[in-house]
């Protein structure tokens, strides 16, 4: 049976240098190569404590990290959402019921009572 490793074997060379790191549990955690972050599109990371983070990069190269689990459905899907912006504030729209979450502070733009966690993130 084919495995993911077989399919992925001839990996492409990195085009954007650096590693994306997340500050969690008092330390910086290396998550992925910077080139894995497509501008406007997220990826999910599994954190040591079992939680999930969704990481994004905008057109200007700024990175963001918020909780990946959509608080409205309980599904780990925010990293699969589309990124947009209200003025200069970037947000991600949940792919399930389309609520938007501010990438800077994690607040839900469509329900003031709801927010997701945010994580400091950097590229080194």
């Amino acid at each position: 049976m084919t495995t993911m490793t077989d399919l992925l074997s001839p990996a492409a060379a990195p085009s954007v240098p650096g590693t994306v790191e997340l500050h969690v549990g008092g330390r910086w955690l290396a998550v992925c190569a910077a080139e894995a972050l497509l501008p406007g599109r997220g990826v999910a990371a599994l954190l040591p404590d079992g939680r999930q983070a969704a990481l994004f990069r905008d057109r200007a190269g700024r990175t963001y990290a918020i909780g990946n689990v959509d608080p409205f459905t309980g599904a780990g899907v925010l990293s699969h959402g589309l990124v947009g912006a209200v003025g200069d504030r970037p947000y991600v729209a949940s792919p399930l019921l389309k609520q938007r979450f501010d990438l800077v502070d994690g607040r839900c733009l469509d329900d003031e009572a709801v927010a997701v966690a945010t994580y400091p993130v950097r590229v080194r």
Partner: protein, 870 residues
């Protein structure tokens, strides 16, 4: 004849329809360049036959009933001969001869001779005291005779019969109505409506006898005057006069006399232009047997025919293809209306009924199984008719029971977003009323319960969603929400922005034109060059990104954008489903739909699907589009599943995309004893031709092998039905929440003609539709509707068909299977992981539990740890 250079048009008959025809001619300037001669049997010009009874009830004089504006004939140089009916037409010599001997040559002859009252052949029908009810002369005769009798009966309890009963009542007679059918107005209303009507009519003092026939008119042997009626139930009804109102028959004797074709049951046979087989002779109104095989006894269809014939005479396009028989009238002071499928003849339809015998109010709506309003009957109170009739064929925005309850019951008639009452719940998930939405926008008079007006001043749907929560759950009300917000803003004088989103001021169709004309290959280039001021160089949003991605995908080969939707920048634009080439389900897992063109599949391939589903533990379900949906795949399983499927020869089914989904088929001529064409072959050809075509919304299709329509093609965006001579193409059909029957675009097409028309139709739709606008909505919205689309794609009125065909040819040539193209590309594949830092780890939030021998998503207990208190 006077002037040889001037053409002559002769109109025979000057009733309401004839007069409307003259007005339509005058409007088009035809009367200015043509000699127009009118022959009229009655001694006066056209008058309002519909309101004949008002002569009795309201004392209106015959002169006041006239529908001819003073000086109309003189102003337009029309020669009107009253009291001089046409008696003979000579089509060889093109002349009409009137009773007076007047003979007029014609270039065009229009017959508008109307109808005559049908008198059943009962003994005594010609006795003194027997009348019909049709003309002012009839009415004057009834009036004169009634002065000497105390009672009268009307034979026929239909529309005209009740009018006549009203007239007798108005003359002070003891009035009876005798109707053979078991209820009054049997054509228009149902049993319940007939009962309500009967109570109302009887309350006025009119005696109603239903379910009995008239066997004989009894006559006094000495005077020869009517003494009564012998009825089929053996009883005798003593009355002094009888008025026959048992229906009308077309007056087609002139046409018969000159060899024009008439229908079996009368009526001059005409085509959609109201033209007879003789191209210089037209027939309009009640004397015509219209192209849809019906004789219309109502004035509104007659007017339509008059307009159609006038257009044709003037050299303009026009067609009368039929009219609905919806009626609303006041009979004996009782309001009656019926519309659509009033009798509930559609299969599976249901009645929603309100009946108040005490006040004689009856309302019935006929509703399809899916909630579509099909028709209805209203008696006693027809206030809602004007709103209900236009809604026929669609699903009303409120439950049908709310539409039949009287206003006092707390649920007034509420139709269409603007007609909805403030207390109507627009978003039922979050229980948000229209009043609350109006209050959020800040419109005036938002209703007492909805709080103070103008307290929020939202100016967009997004703001209203945030403010009220409306539309934030299932999303099904968002469209209505948008219409309400637009209407409120418009009412408040705020200019409504038709732009796609906060980043583009253009509509989707305008962006399509920009991308095509300027050959723009990327979203960034479009946003930075053509976005709104302030949006350029920015992120865009989840509305404009997929919309532009779809445009780029439709035009990829032409504008030089990447053909694969996950290539380069395009990958970041796609909706989540397109991004993973699968359909996200409620727990974050995905479903997989391989393409099964036309629904035809070999046992081997079926086994492969079964094996894949078994090996990956997927929930398996047959779809409505004749294919198989495999649910419960994790992101990291998708490439593994597709590696197996592609290996077995499957391609992506694009169930995730705003793209061609399926072309359903019935088994067709190959196996079916009724089939007349190979519907499976055609469905496969069409599905393979248009697979992968990105469009403003999903596209569904079907091909039926005969008129039995087992593939349900008329509910599809484009549907094909086989005929003995080829294929009929239907467009703009839809199922779903607002079903719409597809319209026939073209008939009896060859294979090549069919494909060419579908090419053009689809590309024209893709070019001009709004974002997320199905063909059904698009067809209703675009100016000119179906006729315009037909002009463009069939007659090439815009001269763009060549370009449309070229665009489709480019799409067909550029098609590649998206899943095969993904499996070949390591970079694209690398995105199919649950966690970027733990590619082998499945997402622990995706869990399943067993149900009926398969899996289902485990109900998620919303984890409060993920919610952060603000």
């Amino acid at each position: 004849m006077a002037d040889t250079t001037e053409k002559t048009l002769v109109l025979v008959g000057h009733g309401m329809v004839g007069q409307r025809f003259l007005e339509a001619l005058a409007d088009r300037g035809v009367t200015a360049r043509t000699r127009v001669v009118v022959l009229c049997e009655e001694p006066r010009p056209a008058y309002d036959r519909v309101h004949l009874t008002s002569y009795f009830s309201e004392g209106v004089s015959p002169r006041e009933l006239s529908v001819v504006e003073d000086g109309f004939m003189a102003r337009h140089g029309i020669e009107l001969h009253v009291g001089d009916p046409a008696v003979r037409v000579d089509r060889d010599r093109r002349t009409v001869t009137a009773r007076s001997g007047l003979t007029v040559g014609y270039d065009t002859l229009v017959l508008a001779t109307g109808s005559y009252p049908f008198v059943p052949p009962v003994p005594g029908k010609d006795a003194a005291g027997c009348f019909v009810y049709r003309t002012i002369e009839d009415l004057l005769a009834i009036e004169a005779y009634a002065a000497g009798v105390g009672s009268g009966a009307v034979v026929g309890g239909g529309l005209l019969g009740l009018e006549a009963a009203g007239a007798l009542k108005g003359l002070g007679l003891d009035t009876h109505v005798v109707e053979f059918a078991p209820r009054l107005m049997p054509v228009q209303v149902d049993t319940g409506g007939g009962d309500a009507l009967r109570r109302r009519v009887e309350a006025l003092g009119v005696r109603v006898h239903t379910g009995v026939g008239t066997q004989q008119i009894t006559v006094d042997g000495g005077t020869g005057r009517v003494t009564g009626m012998a009825l089929s139930d053996g009883s005798h009804l003593p009355v002094g006069m009888v008025v026959f109102s048992a229906g009308v028959r077309p007056r087609d004797e002139l046409a018969r006399g000159c060899g024009l074709l008439v229908g079996e049951r009368g009526g001059i046979v005409v085509d959609e232009q109201c033209r007879t087989a003789d191209p210089s002779v037209f027939a309009i109104g009640e004397c015509a047997l219209a192209a849809d095989g019906r004789v219309y006894g109502l004035v509104a269809p007659g007017y339509e025919m008059a307009e159609t014939a006038a257009r044709t005479v003037a050299g303009e396009a026009g067609a009368f293809t039929g009219a609905d028989l919806s009626t609303k009238l006041k009979l004996l002071g009782v309001d009656v209306a019926s519309f659509g499928d009033a009798h509930g003849t559609a299969e599976g339809c249901l009645d929603v009924c309100y009946s108040d015998a005490r006040s004689g109010i009856y309302r019935k709506l006929v509703v399809g199984a899916d909630g579509t309003l099909l028709g209805g009957v209203l008696v006693g109170d027809v206030e809602s008719y004007g709103l209900l009739r236009p809604l026929t064929g669609s699903v009303p925005p409120v439950a049908p029971e709310h539409l039949v309850l009287p206003a006092g019951a707390g649920a007034p008639v509420a139709l269409g977003p603007s007609a909805l009452p403030d207390e109507a719940v627009v978003c039922s998930c979050n229980n948000v009323t229209k009043g609350a939405i109006r209050a959020a926008v800040g419109g005036a008079g938002a209703g007492g319960a909805g709080g103070g007006a103008g307290e929020h001043s939202c100016t967009s749907v997004a703001e209203v969603k945030k403010c009220t929560k409306a539309g934030t759950s299932c999303g099904s009300c968002v469209k209505v929400l948008g219409q309400l917000v637009d209407a409120e803003l418009e009412a408040a004088g705020v200019e409504v922005d038709k732009g796609l989103c906060p980043h583009f001021a253009q509509t989707r169709a305008e962006l399509y034109e920009i991308v095509l004309a300027l050959r723009i290959p990327s979203y960034r280039q479009l946003l930075d060059g053509h976005g709104r001021e302030g949006a350029r160089g920015g992120e865009g949003c989840e509305v404009c990104k997929p919309a532009v991605a779809s445009i780029l995908a439709s035009l990829a080969p032409v504008v030089g954008a990447s053909v694969h939707v996950l290539e380069g920048e395009q990958a970041a634009l796609q909706d989540t489903n397109d991004h993973f080439l699968a359909n996200m389900q409620k727990n974050g897992s995905y479903s997989v739909v391989p393409r099964i063109p036309g629904g035809e599949i070999t046992p081997e391939k079926l086994i492969v699907i079964g094996e894949v589903a078994r090996d990956f533990g997927l929930y398996t379900k047959i779809t409505g589009g004749q294919r198989i949906d495999l649910f419960g795949a994790r992101v990291e399983q998708l490439p593994l599943i597709w590696a197996r499927l592609v290996d077995a020869g499957f391609e992506s089914g694009h169930a995730y995309g705003k793209a061609l989904r399926t072309v359903k088929s019935c088994v067709g001529q190959t196996w079916c004893r009724y089939g007349v064409q190979d519907s499976v072959r055609m469905a496969i050809d069409l599905e393979l031709r248009y697979r992968g075509l990105r469009s403003p919304h999903k596209l569904k299709s079907a091909v039926s092998g005969c008129a039995r329509e087992c593939a349900e093609a008329q509910s599809k965006d484009f549907g094909v039905i086989a005929t003995a001579n080829g294929w009929n193409l239907y467009v703009g059909g839809n199922g779903g929440a607002t079903p719409r029957h597809a319209d026939l675009l073209a008939k009896d097409l060859s294979d090549a003609e069919l494909v060419r028309l579908v090419d053009r139709f689809l590309m024209f739709y893709i070019r001009t539709a709004d974002r997320l606008e199905r063909t059904s909505v698009w067809l209703e919205r675009i100016p000119g509707g179906l006729e315009h689309v037909r002009d463009v794609v069939v007659h090439d009125s815009l001269g763009i068909c060549e370009e449309l065909e070229a665009l489709m040819a480019a799409h067909v040539a550029g098609y590649r299977d998206e899943w095969a193209g993904t499996l070949d590309d390591p970079e694209r594949l690398s995105r199919f992981v649950s966690f970027v830092n733990a590619p082998g780890t499945p997402d622990p939030t995706v869990r399943f539990v067993p149900e009926r021998g398969q899996i289902k998503p485990e109900p998620i207990l919303l984890s409060l740890t993920e919610r952060v208190t603000v």
